[in-house]
Subunit: 333 residues, 2 copies
Amino acid sequence: MNRVINDPDQVTEDSLQGVVRAHPDLLVATDHPRVLRRPSSGEAPRVGIVTGGGSGHEPAFLGYVGPGLVDAVAVGEVFASPTAKSFHAAFREADQGQGVACLYGNYAGDNMNVKMAVKLAAKDDVTVKTVVANDDVASATPDEADKRRGVAGEIIMWKAGGARAAEGASLDEVIASAQKAIDNTRSIGIGLSACTIPANGKPNFTIDNGTMEVGIGHHGEHGIAVLPVAPAKEMAGIMLEKILADLPFGGEDVSVLISGLGATPLMELYLLYGHVDEMLRAHNITPRHRFVGNYFTSLEMMGVSVTLTRVDGELDRLLRAPARSIGLSVFPA
Amino acid sequence: MNRVINDPDQVTEDSLQGVVRAHPDLLVATDHPRVLRRPSSGEAPRVGIVTGGGSGHEPAFLGYVGPGLVDAVAVGEVFASPTAKSFHAAFREADQGQGVACLYGNYAGDNMNVKMAVKLAAKDDVTVKTVVANDDVASATPDEADKRRGVAGEIIMWKAGGARAAEGASLDEVIASAQKAIDNTRSIGIGLSACTIPANGKPNFTIDNGTMEVGIGHHGEHGIAVLPVAPAKEMAGIMLEKILADLPFGGEDVSVLISGLGATPLMELYLLYGHVDEMLRAHNITPRHRFVGNYFTSLEMMGVSVTLTRVDGELDRLLRAPARSIGLSVFPA
């Protein structure tokens, strides 16, 4: 295993040490070893934004802590949910007396631990409301959309919720905007290789050379079809067909987010973006916001995901609002 | 070969189509199919900045076109120099009547083509001066430093030169600042896996599992030692020892840039950063500027590079200046 690590069981711990050394302006350690937060600022109190999830998806989740985005993050081990205690501590760190919006992804462990943490926070008189991202169209049918996993669409949810909180909105308003963002977002991924959790030392799933797994999850969960590797243009067509069937468009503009899953070269992400852009315009859909890069990864997995969001006036404003973080920065206009 | 491409011989062409569709605010096509430039702005004329190099290193080189950085870029095929004609066209696109600074890396093809292009530009009455990056300490001994390759230190050179041009400095002043930046910069990489040029279909070099190549070049050029894969902390020690022996520090602060070579997970880059930061401070060297990410890659190669720059008052000012691009953004203070 050719990796840049020390003890394979300590990669999360060791990595966090580097993060806080690299970005003291964005992220500082807290009393809880698995919770990072924005440094204190002189800003007026507002709704706090929390997220959390397993490590190995960097820049998700900690890479979205920063002005206009997330206030505190609970960090799990590689591909594992943070504990309830971590989420609870993140709520305390983010709370400024105006309540906390916990915006996270739909996985069994996260659901259970967030639920417990919300109860613990209530005893501290910290009000926490939640939005659960379920943007992965490949993970369940439309009539079971509440079973779908959260993937790269979470970035759009964090951006919308974070921008709304920065505007000084109430907790209910922040929750409504984050929920609207994810309700109007759909994602799908294609996996081209497996990845190895350092503590395991070998992949716990396989993708044969010459094949691609359409609809793969961020931890190697099975998708909806294993096919021979197709040209990029066909990949774009397969992914858009699935998304557009699920979220009919009626003249709205969209946000397009293409994320690499880890090892796919950036030039290939742009290559794919070109086809997605061209196909959307052929459907009279205009890509108004465009994000191409490694936004939500799965260690060194090869592959890509495409995320589309229907953008109304409110979401357009929230996506344009300034933000700064490891994973996403939007300059002031 | 599980990649997101169409015709393997068309990946550069296809990728550029996506880049200009994704970022019309940063990069636009020109009459020359292998040259991209910043869109015209209403700014006062100033020195133009040009770079160029092979594809497959994204975000280098095109990803550093933007305000406060590069004005026009010549794009080569994967791992191949742009043509003289491309560099020449990039000079024309960047020229605003104040001359052009061509800031590029020390490779035989680039040297030859830039030289020819400078002569062609002279016939157009476009003055071009050059700085050739040679920051890779592993590629030649100190007394043959002019034979060293340019690697991720080029980003620091572009940032310094671009910021100086944005200040309205003369061509000679821009060249002097870019030269100072690279003269005070040293890099070294460690390769952990090979990579595959799509048109070749298989790697043209090998790194055995369980081994690492210290001092590997950005195209798989041989380094200075093949060793068993070491813990990240030892990797940091090996790289810093080589750099610090080459560029003695006398109380200056430094800029530290850790770049992944493509497939190494971001969490591992941060893990490495933590050790580099700790070791520098133990040497009484303070990391004043910190960059961690995939800044200069080699397709899907696993591995990392470390780049240190001795930062004086001028370089500190130039590194802090606002900039916006795919690869590097610095917010206005």
